[in-house]
């Protein structure tokens, strides 16, 4: 729910409650005041009656002002004046209505009378109607005003917030340009803007440092590796080295090569994750796979693997470097983990690319397969190949799935071309 809606809800609730409470207080206060007023009037009426009786020495025959006056004989002189609410009939044939009455003692020639004067509450009833009307009108006007205020003032007031939000949504850490600073008349938003700007520039700085660090780390590691490799290259020129020592040297070669591959792979992952490879172009996967088959020909032949390829035309927009690496990894895996005289099934359609090869009878653990440094038992790889494959797929919003059927291992890339176009838009 939007902020304005929350605000509307709260303000409408408060407005209704306050107005209702106000109306109630109003009603009771005015009722009290009117009743007091009525009581005073009735008291005056009684005084008039008493005055009349005292002057004329008899009970008045007719009622003075249409007020209902009753005289009732009583036997006690001990009768204090009292006021009470009552229901009475103002004139014969009319419906009974609420009234206010007072009873007092009048003595005429030794005979005690109780005089009761009743006045109508009609005035108060009108009042309640008027109060209800005013309250309702007020309520409607207030709600309208609140809604309009919220709609225009609030939206206008919060506009800077939405601007900042938009900036944050499109924030790209790799983008060197800074967030725009728009001065605003609301202090809080100015503060927010400043905080966001400071944060963004700090993140960008950190990112730049990290980028530099990875580059420098790569540089620093590659040079010693180059020294090791070239020293070995020089060492093996010596004619006095025996086969045993050559084996040792071979192991050092392999370790150095592995370290270098590891370093390259880690750097590549950093690059993919930070979206630093952006040499995208239109590619034909079909022809790339055909090229790769040619490139891997000798390795495929060495294991006597039969390749079964069903390749349909499939054009994608991606970085050639990354697709090259992706295919290299898929091919290397499918060949390396293949059995002797095995098969390699490659099928490419517009929707997906599937690599299938027989291998170990035990299926791979699909959950951790694509994690970093997960290696098949006995594999000499660095354990980053499939992580790289997965990250490249993620970069282009493709799905990669692993499944197996007996000893047949299957890797499937689903291209999701619709999503891709949507994401581009």
């Amino acid at each position: 729910m939007k902020l304005a809606a929350h605000y509307n809800r709260a303000s409408i609730f408060i407005a209704v409650v306050v107005l209702m409470a106000g109306a109630l207080i109003y009603y009771f206060a005015i009722r009290q005041i009117t009743r007091n007023q009525l009581d005073r009037e009735i008291a005056e009426e009684i005084a008039e009656r008493v005055d009349y009786v005292n002057r004329n020495g008899k009970i008045p025959k007719n009622d003075f002002d249409g007020n209902l006056t009753q005289f009732v004989k009583i036997n006690t002189a001990n009768f204090p004046t009292r006021f009470f609410d009552t229901v009475y009939v103002s004139s014969p044939g009319k419906a009974p209505e609420n009234g206010r009455a007072a009873a007092a003692l009048i003595t005429v020639g030794g005979q005690h009378y109780k005089v009761i004067i009743t006045e109508s509450y009609a005035g108060i009833n009108n009042l309640v109607q008027i109060i209800t009307l005013i309250t309702t009108v007020l309520l409607i006007v207030l709600l309208l005003v609140l809604l309009i205020t919220n709609k225009y003032v609030l939206t206008n007031l919060w506009q800077p917030f939405y601007n900042i939000l938009h900036e944050l949504k499109v924030f790209n850490v790799a983008d060197p340009k800074t967030l725009p600073s728009k001065p605003n008349r609301v202090d809080e938003f100015n503060e927010l803007n400043t905080a966001v700007q400071i944060m963004a520039s700090r993140v960008k700085n950190d990112y730049q440092h990290l980028k530099q660090f990875t580059e420098n780390a790569s540089h620093e590691m590659m040079t010693p590796l180059a020294v090791i490799t070239t020293k070995l290259d020089t060492l093996i020129q010596d004619e006095n080295i025996n086969a045993d020592q050559y084996t040792q040297i071979n192991d050092i070669y392999s370790a150095a090569a592995k370290l270098s591959r590891l370093n390259h792979a880690l750097l590549l992952l950093v690059k993919i994750e930070n979206n630093l490879v952006n040499d995208e172009e239109a590619l034909s996967l079909q022809s790339l796979i055909t090229q790769k088959l040619q490139q891997f020909k000798e390795l495929i032949a060495a294991k006597d693997i039969t390749v079964i390829e069903v390749l349909k035309e499939n054009r994608i927009v991606a970085s050639k470097t990354l697709i090259d690496i992706l295919l290299n990894n898929l091919f290397s895996n499918a060949i390396r983990h293949n059995i002797e005289h095995g098969k390699l099934m490659i099928s490419l359609t517009n929707e997906k690319l599937v690599f299938e090869n027989p291998g170990a009878a035990k299926p791979l653990d699909g959950d951790i397969l694509f994690e970093r440094f997960q290696k098949a038992p006995g594999s000499d790889g660095v354990g980053l190949g499939l992580t790289i494959v997965k990250n490249i797929c993620q970069l282009y919003h493709w799905d990669i799935n692993y499944s197996h059927q007996g000893s047949l291992h299957r890797f499937e890339i689903v291209f999701n071309k619709d999503i891709e176009t949507v994401a581009k838009k």
Binding site: E215, S218, H219, E220, M222, T223, L225, A226, V227, I228, T229, T230, K231, L232, D233, T234, I236, Q237, A243, D244, Y246, T247, I249, N250, Y253, S254, A256, A257, K258, S260, R261, H264, L267, D279, Q295, F296, E298, L299, A301, A302, T321, D324, I325, N328, N329, S332, R336, D380, G381, G385
Partner: protein, 225 residues
């Protein structure tokens, strides 16, 4: 061939120096941008091996110097950064090739020879090694004027061996040269054996001397005598 090695890592510099310093080659080395410019202003070279990361500045400075002075040296960049940007920048500012650390000396040698050959292509498009004649333009090989048919990989391998003649080349280096280090085939180099066997057989069948010698446990050597 007169060669200048600009490399600040002493261990690396010495190794390259020793590997290249043989009959027919004159090598010089320096370890900073300033000394490199000094040497370049005084002498002419055929080929320059240039490390991009130098202690007193960017190796690109050397390329700028060469361009400003209309020099014609072949330049091979040695870089620790496997970055496409650096590569493009280097090749656009006048370098002829780009090699990423770590590398095998055999690979470096093959690249230098190829680069130098490209620079002098017009005058010399035939590579002659004893009875083997390679036509670099047509990519054909003949032994004692008898043409032999080589596959693309065998042809590349022969060039690679001749560039590194007299040197022991490890199987790692051969695999990386032929299939690239991205192939990630690890320690299984058995398939190399088949290729070298085929190449050797084709050469022997054409009455060529047996130049390719297997060094047990490590690799191969292209014998010069």
């Amino acid at each position: 061939m007169k060669l200048l090695i600009i490399e600040d890592e002493k261990g690396l510099c010495d190794n390259i120096f020793n590997y290249f310093n043989e009959e027919g080659n004159i090598c010089e080395s320096c370890n900073s941008l300033t000394t490199a410019i000094d040497k370049l202003s005084a002498y002419k070279y055929d080929c320059i091996l240039l490390d991009i990361g130098l202690p007193d500045g960017d190796g690109f400075g050397v390329l700028d110097y060469l361009r400003e002075n209309n020099r014609n040296e072949a330049v091979l960049i040695i870089s620790a950064r496997n970055s496409l940007n650096d590569k493009i920048l280097g090749l656009n500012t006048g370098a002829d090739d780009y090699i990423t650390k770590p590398f095998h000396l055999a690979e470096l040698k093959a690249r230098v020879v190829a680069t130098y050959r490209r620079k002098t292509f017009n005058t010399n498009n035939k590579l002659i090694f004893n009875e083997i004649t390679i036509n670099l333009l047509g990519r054909t090989v003949s032994v004692n004027d008898t043409p032999i048919i080589l596959t693309r990989k065998e042809y590349d391998m022969l060039l690679y061996f001749i560039a590194n003649k007299g040197k022991v080349i490890s199987k790692n280096a051969i695999a990386e040269h032929m299939w690239g280090d991205e192939m990630d085939m690890h320690d299984n180099f058995d398939f190399i054996y088949t290729h070298i066997k085929n190449l050797r057989k084709k050469l022997l069948d054409a009455q060529c001397a047996d130049y390719i010698k297997s060094i047990y446990g490590i690799g191969y050597k292209f014998m010069t005598e």
